[in-house]
Symmetry: D2
Subunit: 348 residues, 4 copies
Amino acid sequence: MTANKVNVCVLGASGYTGSDFIRLAARHQNINFAALTAHTHAGKKVAEVFPHLATLDLPKLTTVDDVDWSDIDVVVCGLPHGTTQEIIASLPKDIKIADMSADFRLRDAKTYEDTYGKPHQALELQKKAAYGLTELNRDEIRNTRLVACPGCFPTAVLLTLFPLLAGKHIGPNDLIIDAKSGLTGAGRGLKQNTLFSEAGEGLSPYGVGTHRHAPEIDQELTKAFGDSVVVNFTPHLVPMSRGELVTCHVKLCDNNTVVDVREALSAHYASEPFVRVLAEGAMLATQNVRGSNHCQIGVFADRIPGRAIVIGTIDNLVKGSAGQALQNLNLMCGFAETQGLEQLPMFP
Amino acid sequence: MTANKVNVCVLGASGYTGSDFIRLAARHQNINFAALTAHTHAGKKVAEVFPHLATLDLPKLTTVDDVDWSDIDVVVCGLPHGTTQEIIASLPKDIKIADMSADFRLRDAKTYEDTYGKPHQALELQKKAAYGLTELNRDEIRNTRLVACPGCFPTAVLLTLFPLLAGKHIGPNDLIIDAKSGLTGAGRGLKQNTLFSEAGEGLSPYGVGTHRHAPEIDQELTKAFGDSVVVNFTPHLVPMSRGELVTCHVKLCDNNTVVDVREALSAHYASEPFVRVLAEGAMLATQNVRGSNHCQIGVFADRIPGRAIVIGTIDNLVKGSAGQALQNLNLMCGFAETQGLEQLPMFP
Amino acid sequence: MTANKVNVCVLGASGYTGSDFIRLAARHQNINFAALTAHTHAGKKVAEVFPHLATLDLPKLTTVDDVDWSDIDVVVCGLPHGTTQEIIASLPKDIKIADMSADFRLRDAKTYEDTYGKPHQALELQKKAAYGLTELNRDEIRNTRLVACPGCFPTAVLLTLFPLLAGKHIGPNDLIIDAKSGLTGAGRGLKQNTLFSEAGEGLSPYGVGTHRHAPEIDQELTKAFGDSVVVNFTPHLVPMSRGELVTCHVKLCDNNTVVDVREALSAHYASEPFVRVLAEGAMLATQNVRGSNHCQIGVFADRIPGRAIVIGTIDNLVKGSAGQALQNLNLMCGFAETQGLEQLPMFP
Amino acid sequence: MTANKVNVCVLGASGYTGSDFIRLAARHQNINFAALTAHTHAGKKVAEVFPHLATLDLPKLTTVDDVDWSDIDVVVCGLPHGTTQEIIASLPKDIKIADMSADFRLRDAKTYEDTYGKPHQALELQKKAAYGLTELNRDEIRNTRLVACPGCFPTAVLLTLFPLLAGKHIGPNDLIIDAKSGLTGAGRGLKQNTLFSEAGEGLSPYGVGTHRHAPEIDQELTKAFGDSVVVNFTPHLVPMSRGELVTCHVKLCDNNTVVDVREALSAHYASEPFVRVLAEGAMLATQNVRGSNHCQIGVFADRIPGRAIVIGTIDNLVKGSAGQALQNLNLMCGFAETQGLEQLPMFP
């Protein structure tokens, strides 16, 4: 920590969440990039891997082993899930961590193993991690050392549904979450179905009933409702780079109306800088939040009586990952929560 | 009718459904283009309006008034809804009609008026129209003079759900139809939200709870089930030109399983040339039917017990409009049903 | 002017250049939006026309007639060409103007009339306007009241070629400028060929030999070289929203090599915050400047001896329009030149 | 050869050119698919690798070693360059070959080695190969056993420029070929820069001055002109799947005008089924040939006196590869040249 700046190390700086964290935090007054790691690109300049960041004065990419931890105040981790646990477990205990991977999101060891296919390697640490959905968990985040930033889909779903289930405006049954994501949600790995020629000009469902974000959504909605919730979660791949939209088909509780639901959400988020509940008649679009930490939520009448449609949208790389990580880092370090996140959406 | 050819007039040849009908029917052995109308482009060559059709030898575009009806055997109508009724009512009675507009799809006069905002102008004709979902209504189509080709979304939804509701494999309650369409579904009219710069790189819901295809879906699913069905219908605009995918979240009846549902659909469509039910584990994509008259359907387990996810995909301009019109024309004229529809999907 | 803030009026705030100016200037410490005009949308909130700006606290849209000019320090004009001259001519003389339209770019009255199809209405003002290519004309811009911001293509071309022609590194003959632009370059007007379904998945040349930016390029390159220059200018429409890339095929002077050309450009732009000359072997992409005020230039060997290929890329809405307008406003008002322009490129 | 059908083996059926050959030839009356090879997918059904072809009745994918050559009349080869030579050299001598790879295109052994980085392995065969640009070389193709189908860019360039150079309408100096291609031109291999998230919404030059198609263009244009021609060849990657457009900036010979050039091309291609020279004022677009074997050429005045701009466009996978291979196969086998190639362009 030099003067008012914290020294940050980004693990996995050659991925999309890592680079988007750099894009945002580069304009933060109190962040100094002290180390950036990228296993296969170690030794290169960031500009070689991400030419759009070439104007920044950044340290070269290194391996994790080459980081001088005595110099680091905060680690932001953008590594793939399953690779992070031992690294984080081995860090000096005075380093704060904002983890963008999936490794510390699930509370239940068995659920983790079932979902990610191998036993968790840092169970003690997992218990101490705060779930980093900022708007729902500020106090815990402020006082933790390790924040497990939510998955991109869970972020959109929980911002949209958590207050409604907690407030008993909607019920826990037949919760249908029809989700749509741009291609960056699939990461920077090389897969045939994410090639431009194959993903372009087309839409496809994927991971229907089996997507790894579903147990995470169940876990948090169960917490909201106070009793077990199991959701339908049906993601689709959309031919766009950024953006996520979750169309939640819900049952209204008792005498709740669409207007009640909208008002409950509006009241809940009235003082939030990044969440905005749309007025009746306004329409959502992922374009309206692109590149920003914003979340927009709309509430719509269903043709089926007793039901409603609640739709949320975020930029999966920002509020769904790097932006939320920065928001949490701000809380952990005592900075203004919106610092570095003033970026407006880019349209067109 | 010359030799084995029917003389076809396309009304509205400067729109997307009109031009795609020309693209397909140009390779049909028994079709002769006798007249092509396009109000604002009358007098032009087709090549000026659609340069991709420049290699065809086609008549010039004319107004409707300039068509010599004595020369016409079949009218294919691609005009906007609400403009077609009087024209069709005034045609010589020996002309067959395949109407791609919405004007003769709804049986109930009041539903039509509520949905399209003005009273129907040809109620007598409406009663005689056959609903042109070919796979479900062949006999009636063969013997009618006027086919009302279904909307693109209803085509995808009904192919996916009609046999399941009729066979009591799924129930009529809480039918959630989360639908996605490419931009050609919005037609060739000039709207700001369909500009490349605005529609690209983003996804947006539209017409939530109010889309005009919903009453049409209700009407036909009610017929399938034998009692009133009201669906949730939630369409989204996807940044691609062609393609439509409907994600139907359904409740299983009694002891039905996902396997039962898949087998029922497979059996039902076993001999259909254009409908294909995917094996377990195979995934759908609009890319796999692009440009063709094909429909693909997949059945997936839901995480919520007692529910399933049934997904259908078509090319909205082909099976969802011009292709189905040609399929119906083939039935009405006694040609082989697949003639002119052998076009394979184009991927990438 | 209140405290350290200037009161800015944006004319044409419902267009893309107007809204992108708002996006950038919203983060400027010394700018207050005092008035925003939009003829057909007068009376609406900005959020209705541009939902992505909904989080800003902005004045409502008004007509030009309803602006209280006594309150305005600077006008930023994003109106279509040909509509701006009389409005600007009628403004109080103490108001500074950054004009993003084409109306004050051409020095020669006859060239203006030939290019834009009608006589110029404010010839006196035209003579006083500074040509607003910031990097080439800082002193004049600092001391003028009216800046004519260059067209998007001229900005990219002049940044790439002006120093090379001025320095006699390349010759004035056979200058081939093969240009490519995203769809926002065509503005927000409704045209069939800019619909998503028509512009997507395809590339087309347009305005070959006749594009209105060509005389502007000639004018400035003639200034650079000191003698008449006439260029080949061949633009193409690319299926992307933002971004412009100009591939300039040039003849080397005398003993100049590709290395000489690269070094000349590097030296020329060494201290520029927004222009970056790439090292040998690095490749340009519009993605690397998207959303930012950056310009990247690369120099490549031609297979034909004595020639070279010099390529420049910018974001047409930022450095090509709104960003450059803000850069010029900063100069005119004595603010730090980079204020409000710290926005990094967004990739992916 | 059974009845009127030839037995075809497609080598490399899991690539884009292989699958597009299948798409086209599936509608050919005289072709029977006897064997399909795909090294890493051997044992799978084609439908698993290309679901859009699932409706066809095709043999399973095999290795090359498992093909029974006694059963094969024609081999269509879609393998990567450098892997094909030994395979083709070892085939029974009565098998005809249409090779879509680069392996037999270059006449000069040293140029091949310089361009592709290793010595040619079948020099004898290379000498006997006919260069398969159908419109320019029909007689040789009809009488050969082995056709080397041209690269996609050379196809577009040569159709556009060959008759003009041969007829001395344009000169050989300062030939600038600014080329643009969709992403399928980069093949189905996994590369980071061809991911949707990286290639989308952006344009980038690549292989400037070094692209492997340049020596092939030189070779053929030298043949056309009768003396050495060296071109500038500058390709760009465009965010679309299919389509190629070459903007050729040329010098007019002597008294030739733009009208002369257009008329010379029109006359040359007057009886060609797939090449169309546009009238003055008409504009090209890759969309207008998408999915078809068509080529469109336009001629435009340059602002620089004595120069012209000649632009050609094709679908790189069809006329640029699989379609031209089928066209050549038709010639070699004595079928109607247009069989299987009646596919109209698909727009939108």
